[in-house]
C-alpha cells in the first residue's frame, strides 16, 4: 500500500532538503520525495497542514526500557509506546537490566519483546563487561551478532583504564562505539546532587563536574590510543564539553550527547518549586546555570552531536522516599521534543534543521544504524512534528509506566503530530488531528 504525505515542510538535512515537499511511501520504504508528486492508483493521501514538519524518524540513543527484570518501572511495550508518542521511531536501550544484557539470550529477549510490541524500533546496547562488573569483557562479538549496536556499562563507568582500552580495541573490530557513563567514582563518592551552593544549603552531598570530565579525558586519551570510538553519554558539565572539544580538535573519535533536562534545568530545582523533589534527582545531576548555558552553547556551535533523553523510569514508590534514598533518573521520551522546540528552536538557539541532525541524523551515524535520512529507498521511519502546538505536559497521561518527570504541568510550544515506523502510523496525536 502506498501513502502520500502531501504538503508538509520536509526537513531532511542528510539530503540537503528544507522546504515544502511531498513524501511518497511505498510499503515500508520511502519511494520518492519531491514537489507535487501525483497520487495515482491505490494511494492514500495524507494532507499535511502547512506549519507541520516532516523529518526522518527521531532516534533516542539513550533509553532504559527496564525489561527484563524491572517490569514494574517499564517494559519494552510501554517504553516503545512512550517513544512513539514522543515522536521517536527508534530507541537504543541500555543494558543495565536484570539480568544485564551481557549475552545474546538477553539481547534476543529484548528484540522479541520489541517485535511483539511492534511500535518503535529497538536497538539493544550490550554491556562492556560481564554483569557490568568491570572485570571481564562481555561476549561482544556474540552481542553484535544478536543485534546489539554498541556497548556500555551505563549506570556505572568502565572501572579501569585497561578494561576501557580493551573494550575500545575489541568493539572497534565490530565497528561498535563504546558509550561511556563518565564518572570518576571516588570523586563522586556518595554524592546525590551537583556540588554547589544549592546542595550546600540543602545539606546534600555533592558531585563536582570534574567527576565527569576526568573520566571523559581518560576515555578520549584511550580513544586516541586505540583508534576506537567513544561516545560520552548524558554530558552535563562544562568541563566535559571542553574535554570533548579538545578531543575533537585532536581528531580523536569522540562524540557526545546532552539530555533535555541538562540544557533546560539547573540545580536551583533542588529548592523550588518543591524542595528535595526526588524527580530532580538524576545522575549526572542537574548542574548550575554556567553548565546549563555551556550545554546550550555546545548544542549551538556543533560540539554536541546528539540529544538523547536518558529516559530512566522509576516507580512512584521508589521515588516517594527521602532524597538520599531515591534512585537517580527521570523519564524523558514524552517531553523531549516539546522541550527541544521550546528551549532550542523557538528560543533561537538552533535551527530546525540542526535539531533534526541532533535527534535523527547524528544518532543514526554514531550507532551506524539505518535512519536519519528520507532518501529514496530508505526505511519509511518518519516523524511528523508540530512546532507550534501548545503542549501542557501531563505525567498522568503519559504512555510510560512511570511518572517520574519534573516537567509535569509545564506549558511548552511544540510537539508531535504523528510517528510513522516502517510505513505504519504507530502514533497519531489527536490534538493535531492528522487524518492518517
Amino acid at each position: 500500500m502506498k501513502r502520500l504525505l502531501k504538503g508538509g515542510r520536509v526537513v531532511d538535512p542528510a539530503n540537503g532538503r528544507d522546504g515544502v515537499f511531498d513524501v511518497l511511501v511505498d510499503g515500508d520504504r520511502i519511494a520518492r520525495v519531491g514537489r507535487d508528486l501525483h497520487a495515482d492508483g491505490d494511494v492514500g493521501v495524507v494532507e499535511i497542514p502547512s506549519g507541520l514538519v516532516v523529518c526522518p524518524g527521531l532516534i533516542d540513543m539513550h533509553v532504559h526500557l527496564r525489561e527484563p527484570g524491572q517490569e514494574h518501572k517499564e517494559t519494552v511495550a510501554t517504553g516503545t509506546a512512550a517513544a512513539v508518542a514522543g515522536g521517536f521511531t527508534a530507541v537504543a536501550c541500555m543494558p543495565n537490566t536484570s539480568p544485564v544484557n551481557d549475552n545474546a539470550g538477553v539481547t534476543e529477549y529484548i528484540l522479541k519483546k520489541a517485535a511483539e510490541a511492534n511500535l518503535a524500533r529497538v536497538y539493544p546496547i550490550g554491556a562492556v563487561s560481564r554483569g557490568q562488573a568491570g572485570e571481564q569483557l562481555a561476549e561482544i562479538g556474540e552481542l553484535r551478532q544478536a543485534g546489539c549496536v554498541a556497548i556500555t556499562d551505563d549506570g556505572r563507568p568502565v572501572a579501569t583504564a585497561m578494561l576501557m582500552r580493551r573494550a575500545l580495541e575489541y568493539a572497534g573490530m565490530f565497528g561498535m562505539p563504546v558509550i561511556e557513563h563518565c564518572e570518576e567514582q571516588t570523586l563522586k563518592g556518595d554524592g546525590v546532587a551537583h556540588e554547589g551552593f544549592h546542595a550546600s544549603a540543602l545539606g546534600l552531598r555533592g558531585i563536582p563536574g570534574q567527576a565527569e570530565s576526568i573520566m571523559a579525558l581518560r576515555d578520549i586519551a584511550l580513544a586516541e590510543l586505540t583508534g576506537g570510538a567513544v561516545h560520552v553519554a548524558h554530558m552535563s558539565a562544562r568541563q566535559t564539553l571542553d574535554a570533548v572539544r579538545w578531543g575533537k580538535s585532536r581528531g580523536a573519535r569522540v562524540t557526545c550527547e546532552v539530555t533535555p533536562h541538562h540544557f533546560v534545568l539547573t540545580d536551583e530545582m533542588l529548592r523550588a518549586p518543591i524542595a528535595y523533589d526526588t524527580n530532580v534527582k538524576m545522575n549526572p545531576p542537574l548542574r548550575d546555570a554556567a553548565d546549563r548555558d555551556a550545554m546550550l552553547a555546545g548544542i549551538a556551535d556543533g560540539s554536541v552531536d546528539v540529544i538523547a533523553t536518558d529516559h530512566a523510569p522509576h516507580h512512584y514508590d521508589e521515588k516517594r522516599v527521602e532524597f538520599d534514598h531515591a534512585p537517580f533518573g527521570i523519564t524523558g521520551l514524552e517531553t523531549a521534543v516539546s522541550l527541544c522546540f521550546d528551549r532550542l528552536v523557538h528560543a533561537g538557539v538552533i535551527s530546525l534543521s540542526r535539531l533534526v541532525e541532533l535527534l535523527s541524523v547524528n544518532p543514526a551515524r554514531v550507532l551506524h544504524v539505518a535512519g536519519g535520512s528520507l532518501a529514496d529507498g530508505a526505511p519509511a521511519d518518519i516523524s511528523i512534528l508540530a512546532p507550534d502546538l501548545a503542549v501542557t505536559v501531563s505525567a498522568a497521561r503519559m504512555r510510560s509506566k512511570s511518572r517520574n518527570t519534573p516537567f509535569d504541568g509545564w506549558q511548552l510550544r511544540g510537539g508531535v503530530a504523528a510517528t510513522i515506523v516502517g510505513g505504519r502510523a504507530v502514533y497519531v496525536n489527536e490534538a493535531v488531528g492528522l487524518q492518517m
Binding site: 563518592g189 556518595d190 556540588e195 554547589g196 551552593f197 544549592h198 546542595a199 550546600s200 544549603a201 540543602l202 545539606g203 546534600l204 552531598r205 555533592g206 518543591i274 524542595a275 528535595y276 514508590d317 516517594r320 522516599v321 527521602e322 532524597f323 538520599d324 534514598h325
Partner: protein, 306 residues
C-alpha cells in the same frame, strides 16, 4: 507563622523575635514549683526520631509535658530505615491517628519536607541530615541575646565541621538575618562549597577567626559522618582548630563559648574551655526547653479554627 517549622528560612525576622520573646515567658514557667501549664492540653505531639538523640528528644519531651500536651515517642532504629516501612507510610499511619504536631529527627536532609507534604499535622524539624536544626539555632540566639542583650552587630565565630553540620546552616541563616557579623572557620576539607553566599566570612585560621569575637560557637566533629579522610588525625585537628584557653584569650574579654553538644573533649574543645567561666554550654541546654515550648505554643497553641 507557617504551618511547619522546617528551617530558619521559613521564619521572618519578626517571627524569630516573637519566638525569642515568647521563650522568655516560657522560661518563667520552668522556674515555678509546679512546672506545668494547660496550654496544649488535649493536643497530641509525636516525637518521631530516626536518629538517636538524648538532648534534643528529652528537651522536646519536657517542653511538651510542661505545656500539658500528650506526647508519644517513636524511635526508629537506623538499621530498619531501608528495609522497614517507608517514611511516607509511617507518616500516613501517624497522620491517620490525627496528632497535632510531629517532631521529626532524621539522618536524611529534607526528610521533614517529605513528611510535611504528606501530613496535615504541624511538623517541627528536630534535625534533618546535614540540612537544618532550627530549634537549636533559636535556642542559641536566645542564649546569645540573654548575655549580650542584642545580636545585631555582634561578632560570632563558628568553628568546626562546617560541611556536615545542620547546626551551622541554621545558625548562619538566623544570625545573618538578625545582623550578626558571622565568621565560619574549619579545615578547608570541611567547608561547604559556596558557603560565602550566605553572607559569612570563611577562615581556615582559627587564631585569626576568634580575634575580638563576642561569641565563639564550637561545632562537634561528627566522627560518625566522616566518610572520608578529611583531616589526618584527631591530634592534628585539636592542634589546628581545637578551642583552648590561649585561643579564647584572643577573643573579647566577655566572650561566651557555646557548643550544641554532645562535646568531644580534647577534639574540638579542651575541658578547660568547656568548663571555664565563659562557657554557656549548660545554659544552652536549659534554654532549649524554653525555646521549644515557645515554638510548640506558637505553632499548636492557637484556638481551634484559628
Amino acid at each position: 507563622m507557617k504551618k511547619d517549622l522546617l528551617g530558619i528560612g521559613d521564619l521572618t525576622r519578626d517571627e524569630i523575635y516573637l519566638i525569642l520573646d515568647t521563650a522568655e515567658a516560657m522560661r518563667e514557667i520552668g522556674q515555678r514549683p509546679i512546672k506545668k501549664v494547660p496550654t496544649l492540653r488535649g493536643k497530641t505531639v509525636v516525637n518521631l526520631f530516626y536518629e538517636p538523640s538524648t538532648r534534643t528528644r528529652t528537651s522536646f519531651e519536657i517542653a511538651e509535658k510542661r505545656l500539658s500536651a500528650d506526647t508519644l515517642n517513636i524511635a526508629v532504629a537506623a538499621s530498619s530505615v531501608l528495609k522497614g516501612e517507608t517514611l511516607a507510610d509511617t507518616a500516613m499511619n501517624i497522620e491517620a491517628m490525627a496528632p497535632d504536631v510531629i517532631v521529626i529527627r532524621h539522618a536524611s536532609s529534607g526528610a521533614c519536607h517529605l513528611l510535611s507534604r504528606i501530613c496535615k499535622s504541624r511538623v517541627i524539624n528536630a534535625g534533618d541530615g546535614m540540612h537544618e536544626h532550627p530549634t537549636q539555632a533559636l535556642l542559641d540566639a536566645f542564649t546569645i541575646r540573654e548575655h549580650k542583650k542584642r545580636i545585631d552587630g555582634l561578632k560570632v565565630t563558628i568553628v568546626g565541621d562546617l560541611l556536615h553540620s545542620r547546626v551551622l546552616r541554621s545558625n548562619v541563616l538566623l544570625l545573618t538575618e538578625l545582623g550578626a557579623d558571622v565568621c565560619v572557620c574549619g579545615p578547608s576539607t570541611l567547608v561547604p562549597i559556596g558557603i560565602e553566599r550566605f553572607g559569612v566570612r570563611v577562615s581556615t585560621n582559627v587564631d585569626e577567626a576568634v580575634r575580638d569575637a563576642d561569641v565563639i560557637m564550637m561545632l562537634r566533629i561528627q566522627q560518625e559522618r566522616m566518610h572520608g579522610a578529611f583531616f589526618p588525625s584527631v591530634r592534628e585537628y585539636f592542634n589546628t582548630f581545637g578551642m583552648t584557653p590561649a585561643r579564647v584569650a584572643r577573643a573579647k574579654p566577655d566572650v561566651i563559648i557555646m557548643h550544641p553538644g554532645p562535646m568531644n573533649r580534647g577534639v574540638e574543645i579542651s575541658s578547660e574551655v568547656a568548663d571555664g567561666p565563659y562557657s554557656v554550654i549548660l545554659e544552652q541546654v536549659a534554654n532549649g526547653v524554653s525555646v521549644r515550648m515557645a515554638v510548640l505554643y506558637l505553632l499548636a497553641g492557637g484556638v481551634e479554627g484559628d
